[in-house]
Structure formats: structure tokens, C-alpha cells
């Protein structure tokens, strides 16, 4: 009896309608919320959530509990599968509907796969530079690097989330523990000019000697980013190895460039170079004769192959600044397969390799860059999405199903008229 009720609930069309209504409300709220919270935060708060407790819209708090994107999606999937299983009839008449439903199921599952497993990162390199890793544009990691024999290093990374959680962090690979004393999701660096009246530094070790970091409001816009900073204490087997500042500002190439440009405007190129040099000095500690260099850097995703930027081309339409073409000529080297080839990446022509897709994303090249004295630079967006085919397949199935259903009815209608 109970099972029948459950089956009845999950196969009901009423459930579908209710879920669709909730989905409409959620999309509406999520879209409005982006104004204040930005795309990523709105996605995380409303769509990647099972339940939503309370809304914040236009500065007003609304106490309400709503199903989140995960819950609605999952229930829709269950609803569809139940309906599919219990009402399934293998007949020519229904085959279109079956196909369309299967397509929708595939879309839902594909979206779930994308949401859980897709990963986006970037490769930023100047002409002549070789990179064998991609960097996250949002997440950071505290990386400790130490020698591991000839031409190899061991890298131990602690994700930003662990720093944000605070407390003490340890790992068997590290002969010390890390105590997080403070952590800011976004921060601002300030050069401690010798002429200025500075407050005492946060610590006298490393970068903190020359820079003050202060907390900054969290950035929610898509075209800007948060640069975290943490004050940590490193505690070795024989006691404290001092307090250190680790900051995204010291290792995030794109942001370092913007720091240099800012100081260049204020104090000239020479001084700006010196200031940035101080900012990017590697910090290290030695424990038991082993040197560990550490930095809070954009999260890296190491690749089993390397890409070298041979040439970045940025052309504009004659007589305008409107971009016509961004194009990166890269050399791909894979020591495992012995592959060594050149290829071009440009708009709508990404490189698909080893389950990754490399899209042309940003570029500093061409005449304008040349005039500014900048080395041509290219940024590739690296997307890993095991579910990338599902939307194409799902949509094709829905379309084929609907076309079949329509044609079937049309044929029936025509034959009916003829018999009349």
C-alpha cells in the first residue's frame, strides 16, 4: 500500500508541475540575486543547494525555505525515471515520447555530471614560455615546494578552503604544522614605503617586511577576482618557525601585472619594477636541512604534457580597434607518447587534447601591446568536462522524439481524412 503510494507520488504529473513551478521561481530569484551577489555566489547559494534558508533580495531578508537547484533537479530526474518505467509501452505510437523523455533525462544527468566534475582553469603564458599546468581563476592553494632529486620537486598543496576554516593543518609529508592565525578571502596590498609612517608590520618575515595586507570587501563581479591573504604560523618539531604572510598577490601573475602597472603610473617604471620584485620574492623555511618554498598561489592542475606559446597574434579590423582575430600558435609536447606538434588555437577552434579543451580566452599582443612595450601574452581557458557531449545528445534526442511524434500524428491524421 505504502509502496503504491510512493510510486503514485513519484509518477504523478502533479509533482512534475509543482517542480516546474518551483524551478521557475528559483530561476527568477537566482537571476535577481546575481545583481547583489554576483554570478558565482548566486549559483552556489540557490542552484548548487538542496534547500535554501531565507532569501536576500535588494537588501531585504525574506524568511522562507525553498527547495534548491539540486533538490528540484534530483526530484525531476526521479519523477521522469519513475514515469518512464511505470508508463513505458513499447509501441510505435509512444516511441517519440519515450525518446524525448530519455533526452530530458540525459540533459538532467549531463548537467549533474558537469556540475560535479567539470573544472575550468587557465594557462597564461608569454611568447616563448612553456607551461605544463593550468591555474584556477578562482581558487587558491598554499603550496610547499621542496627538492626531490635531480630535476624534480615535491609539491604539497593545501586548498584555500582549509585555510579559510582556520585551526591547525598538518600532513605526513610536511615536517611542520601550519596554524592559521587570520584569513581574508579578499585583500589589498600596500607597499610599506620607507618614507611613509607605517604601522608595525604584521610579521618581520618575508613579504610582510615590505608590504601590508589589509582585508578588502569580497568581490562578486565576474570580471574581477578575490585575492586571499592569510597570516600563518609555521610550527616545526623544535618550536615555532615564525609568523608569515601568504597572499595571492605574490603569486598570481595577472594581478602582479596590474600591481606593477599601478605603481608605474604613480612612481615610474623603475620603482614599480623594484616594488614588484619585493612583492614576488619567494618565501622559504628550512626544517631538518630541507628547504621548503611556499606561496599562496592560484590552484594548479598539472598536465602530463606541456604547451609552449610560439606566437600570439591579435589582429584588428583595419582602421579600428575592433578585434578581428585572436590566435595562439602553440607547440604541444607529450613525453609519454613522444608527441611533438604545433597547432593553432583561435576563436571557435579550440584544441581538444587528453580530455581537455583549450579555448582562446584573452590576449595581449598586436600593435597596441607592441607600443606599450609588452611581451605578447596569451591566456587559454582550459575546460575539463566529461559531460560535454550530453547536451548535444540530449537535445538531439528530444528533437528527434518530438519530430517522430509529430510525424506519427500527422500521418495518422492524413490517413484518417483519406478514409473519410
Amino acid at each position: 500500500m505504502l509502496i503504491k503510494k510512493i510510486i503514485g507520488f513519484f509518477t504523478s504529473l502533479r509533482l512534475t508541475v509543482v517542480l516546474l513551478a518551483f524551478a521557475i521561481v528559483l530561476v527568477f530569484i537566482g537571476t535577481l540575486a546575481q545583481v547583489d551577489e554576483g554570478l558565482y555566489n548566486a549559483q552556489a547559494r540557490y542552484f548548487r543547494q538542496w534547500l535554501i534558508f531565507g532569501l536576500d533580495l535588494f537588501g531585504h531578508k525574506i524568511p522562507i525555505i525553498l527547495p534548491g537547484g539540486y533538490l528540484i533537479g534530483t526530484l525531476m530526474l526521479v519523477n521522469l525515471i519513475f514515469a518512464h518505467v511505470y508508463r513505458f509501452q513499447l509501441s510505435v505510437k509512444k516511441i517519440g515520447i519515450q525518446l524525448a523523455h530519455s533526452g530530458v533525462i540525459l540533459l538532467l544527468v549531463g548537467q549533474l555530471v558537469t556540475d560535479m566534475f567539470a573544472h575550468e582553469s587557465q594557462i597564461r603564458f608569454v611568447e616563448g614560455e612553456t607551461k605544463s599546468y593550468a591555474e584556477s581563476s578562482l581558487d587558491f592553494e598554499l603550496a610547499f615546494t621542496t627538492d626531490a632529486g635531480a630535476n624534480a620537486e615535491q609539491v604539497i598543496t593545501i586548498p584555500q578552503k582549509r585555510l579559510a576554516a582556520g585551526g591547525e593543518i598538518g600532513d605526513p609529508h610536511l615536517p611542520f604544522t601550519i596554524r592559521v592565525k587570520s584569513y581574508w578571502k579578499n585583500s589589498e596590498p600596500g607597499f610599506r614605503a620607507p618614507m611613509a609612517q607605517n604601522a608595525p608590520p604584521a610579521t618581520t618575515n618575508g613579504v610582510a617586511k615590505d608590504f601590508d595586507f589589509s582585508p578588502a570587501a569580497e568581490i562578486k563581479k565576474m570580471d574581477d577576482k578575490n585575492e586571499p591573504t592569510a597570516l600563518i604560523e609555521i610550527v616545526g618539531p623544535n618550536g615555532s618557525l615564525g609568523n608569515w604572510i601568504v597572499s595571492g598577490w605574490t603569486a598570481d601573475t595577472g594581478m602582479i601585472e596590474s600591481v606593477q602597472q599601478t605603481y608605474q603610473r604613480m612612481a615610474g617604471a623603475d620603482l614599480a619594477r623594484q616594488i614588484v620584485h619585493k612583492l614576488t620574492q619567494p618565501q622559504f623555511i628550512s626544517v631538518n636541512g630541507k628547504k621548503f618554498t611556499f606561496a599562496l598561489r592560484p590552484e594548479r592542475n598539472y598536465l602530463p604534457f606541456s604547451l609552449t606559446l610560439l606566437k600570439a597574434t591579435h589582429t584588428v579590423y583595419d582602421g579600428t580597434d575592433i578585434p578581428k582575430d585572436f590566435r595562439s600558435r602553440v607547440q604541444l609536447k607529450n613525453p609519454q607518447t613522444g608527441e611533438n606538434r604545433e597547432t593553432e588555437i583561435y576563436m571557435n577552434a579550440p584544441l581538444r587534447y587528453a580530455g581537455l579543451t583549450f579555448y582562446q580566452y584573452q590576449m595581449t599582443a598586436g600593435q597596441m601591446a607592441e607600443q606599450a612595450g609588452a611581451t605578447p601574452e596569451s591566456v587559454l581557458q582550459v575546460v575539463h568536462n566529461p559531460g560535454w557531449l550530453t547536451p548535444y545528445l540530449g537535445c538531439a534526442m528530444v528533437a528527434a522524439g518530438l519530430v517522430w511524434q509529430f510525424l506519427f500524428h500527422l500521418a495518422g491524421f492524413i490517413t484518417k481524412r483519406k478514409t473519410k
Binding site: 534530483t74 555530471v113 605544463s132 620537486e153 609539491v155 618614507m195 609612517q197 612612481a267 620584485h277 598539472y302
Partner: protein, 332 residues
């Protein structure tokens, strides 16, 4: 399936990870530096944009030719480049690339000879361009000689000899890195000092700190010493009060609530001057300090004359004149 997906994704990204990776070498490969024997009659000129080296060749009767060395990423379309040169001497575009084999240093290279037929407007002779193209690694080096056809014909042999003398030395560090090391900041940069008229008896010394723009040593007949240093900082650089407090600290004097300063005219505004006597906190000797603050286009220049009272008193006027002589570079 759903549960499995959630389980796999659940343990996503909060764990400490350990990798073994190849030693990082993400700095761009330094471009090799050119070495060559300079032929007689050739003068090295400022390389300018795009060029690794530039030369001016002057003939006996004053004719000139220009020689440039241009590194470009390899793989450019040769025909496009050739036609660009043909366009420069007013020849129609070619449909195939015509070149002769030659050697640049010990490497084999290609020589393109692009000779115009008619003189360009206002010129007596047609123009001719000789270009040697050498591809080394990811870079194509173009050695290009441009000038009036008869003079180029005369200089061709010298040009080929010059090419034979060329060699490449691997640079130890990319130029950006070299410029960023503190040691280079402490060398005396003549361009920096050219913005002032420097009094005769002042001796230029390498700045003792990275933050200083320039430094001078002053000594009088009896051997008493003083020093002048100059720094430029963004914005107000800490303001009058902060800097006066700092300067007073160097003389062992406490901060003061009300700062009395005099002012004088400088290019584009007024400078503020403070004058204090005390004891040099570093040496323990009596000392006098004259500090001058000059706000200038988004930045502030700090001048300090400090040392033996007699030297400072004698150099005060020269110090002010020196500050007034400054032609500040644009703060861009």
C-alpha cells in the same frame, strides 16, 4: 548511479595533495645576445623598437645606409615578408621566394636581395634592401641593410663580412629579471642623474638603498662630510608630518606638533623646506639636516642634505639650486 556520482564528487577538493613535478622553469627562454665585429665606417645606433641592434653606415662622400637586426618568432610567411620589402622599394609583389644561401657566423642562412628600379620621390637613386634571414630555435633573425642602390652595391661585401662575424651568446637571465635584481638598481644610472644640474664638488655615489633615486657625497677642505639623497614616491609618500617625524628621528629629535617650514619655487610648484640640528642617531655625531619635499605630478620627491653642520651650511644654497634645476620625468 546518482548516489555514486554524489559520493565521488563529495570528497572533491578539500584534501592536502602531494605531487612530484619536474623542476619549474616557466621563465621565458632568454634571447641570446648578439656578438659581432663592427666594420670600419659603421656606427652602432640605439636599437629602437623591434630591433636587437642598429647601425649607421656612412660612406666617403656622406652617403648613408641603415643596418638593423630584427628578431621575430620563426614561422612567419617568407613571401609576405619579402613582399613587404619589395613594397618598400616600390616593386610589385613577387609570387615566389628567391634567395641565395650565405652564412651568418657558422650557421647557414638565406640572403634576399631586393633592388628597386626607379628612385623614390625626392631621391636620386633607387632603393635597395639586403636581408639575411637566420632561423635559430623559435626565432628568425633578420639582418637588414637599406640604402641607395649604388651605395649598397659598394657595401655589400662589408655587409657579408659583418654577417660572418656574428655569433650568439646565450644570455644568463632574461632582461626583465636582470633589471629587477636589486644590484642593478644600486648601480649609477646616468639617465637618472641627467635630470639635475649637479654642483661641481658633489660626488655621485651608488644609492645605498633600493628606494633611493640618487645619492651624492660632499666633503669640504677640512675633510668634514655630508650627504645628499633623493627619493621619489607615489602620492604624498607619507606626507609632510610623517617625513618630518622620520627626519627628526634620524637626528634623535622627538616629533613636533607644529611644523614650521619655509618654501621656495621649483618647476611647476613650490617646495617645502625644513631645517633641523641634532645628533646623528647612527653615528652619534652632531649633525644638521635640511629636508625638502617637492610634490610633482602624482608623486613626491624627497631631498635630504644631512651631515656636518659646516658642510651643510656651506652647501645649502647649492642644494636649493640643485633642486630647482630638476627636470622631472613624466610620471607615467
Amino acid at each position: 548511479m546518482l548516489a555514486a556520482l554524489l559520493a565521488v564528487a563529495g570528497c572533491k577538493r578539500d584534501d592536502v595533495k602531494v605531487y612530484q613535478v619536474a623542476k619549474e622553469d616557466s621563465t621565458p627562454a632568454p634571447s641570446p645576445q648578439l656578438q659581432f665585429a663592427l666594420p670600419p665606417g659603421w656606427q652602432q645606433a640605439a636599437p629602437g623598437q623591434m630591433r636587437a641592434a642598429s647601425f649607421t653606415v656612412t660612406g666617403a662622400s656622406g652617403q648613408t645606409a641603415d643596418v638593423g637586426v630584427i628578431p621575430l618568432p620563426a614561422g612567419e610567411n617568407e613571401l609576405d615578408i619579402l613582399n613587404m620589402w619589395r613594397d618598400q622599394v616600390q616593386l610589385p609583389p613577387a609570387t615566389n621566394v628567391d634567395s641565395q644561401p650565405i652564412s651568418v657566423g657558422n650557421d647557414s642562412a638565406k640572403l634576399f636581395d631586393v633592388a628597386g628600379i626607379t628612385p623614390l620621390a625626392g631621391e636620386k637613386f633607387p632603393k635597395r634592401i639586403l636581408v639575411a634571414e637566420l632561423t635559430k630555435g623559435a626565432t628568425s633573425w633578420f639582418f637588414k641593410m637599406t640604402g641607395a642602390a649604388p651605395f649598397i652595391a659598394e657595401q655589400k661585401e662589408t655587409f657579408l663580412q659583418f654577417l660572418k662575424s656574428v655569433s650568439f651568446v646565450e644570455a644568463s637571465a632574461p632582461p626583465m629579471m636582470a633589471a629587477a635584481t636589486p644590484s642593478s638598481a644600486q648601480a649609477i644610472n646616468p639617465a637618472v642623474y641627467s635630470i639635475w644640474t649637479i654642483p661641481e664638488n658633489w660626488q655621485t655615489v651608488a644609492p645605498s638603498s633600493e628606494m633611493l633615486f640618487a645619492e651624492f657625497a660632499l666633503t669640504n677642505a677640512s675633510g668634514a662630510k655630508a650627504g645628499v639623497n633623493v627619493a621619489a614616491l607615489a602620492g604624498t609618500g607619507g606626507g609632510l608630518e610623517g617625513n618630518v617625524t622620520r627626519w627628526r628621528g634620524q637626528l634623535g629629535l622627538p616629533p613636533i606638533a607644529e611644523i614650521i617650514s619655509s618654501s621656495f619655487d621649483v618647476t611647476g610648484g613650490k617646495a617645502q623646506l625644513v631645517d633641523y640640528s641634532g645628533t646623528n642617531a647612527k653615528t652619534g655625531q652632531p649633525a644638521r639636516l635640511i629636508g625638502v619635499i617637492v610634490p610633482q605630478a602624482g608623486q613626491t620627491w624627497f631631498y635630504k642634505l644631512m651631515g656636518d653642520d659646516q658642510v651643510v651650511a656651506a652647501q645649502r644654497e647649492a642644494f636649493i639650486k640643485f633642486i630647482q634645476s630638476a627636470k622631472y620625468p613624466d610620471a607615467h
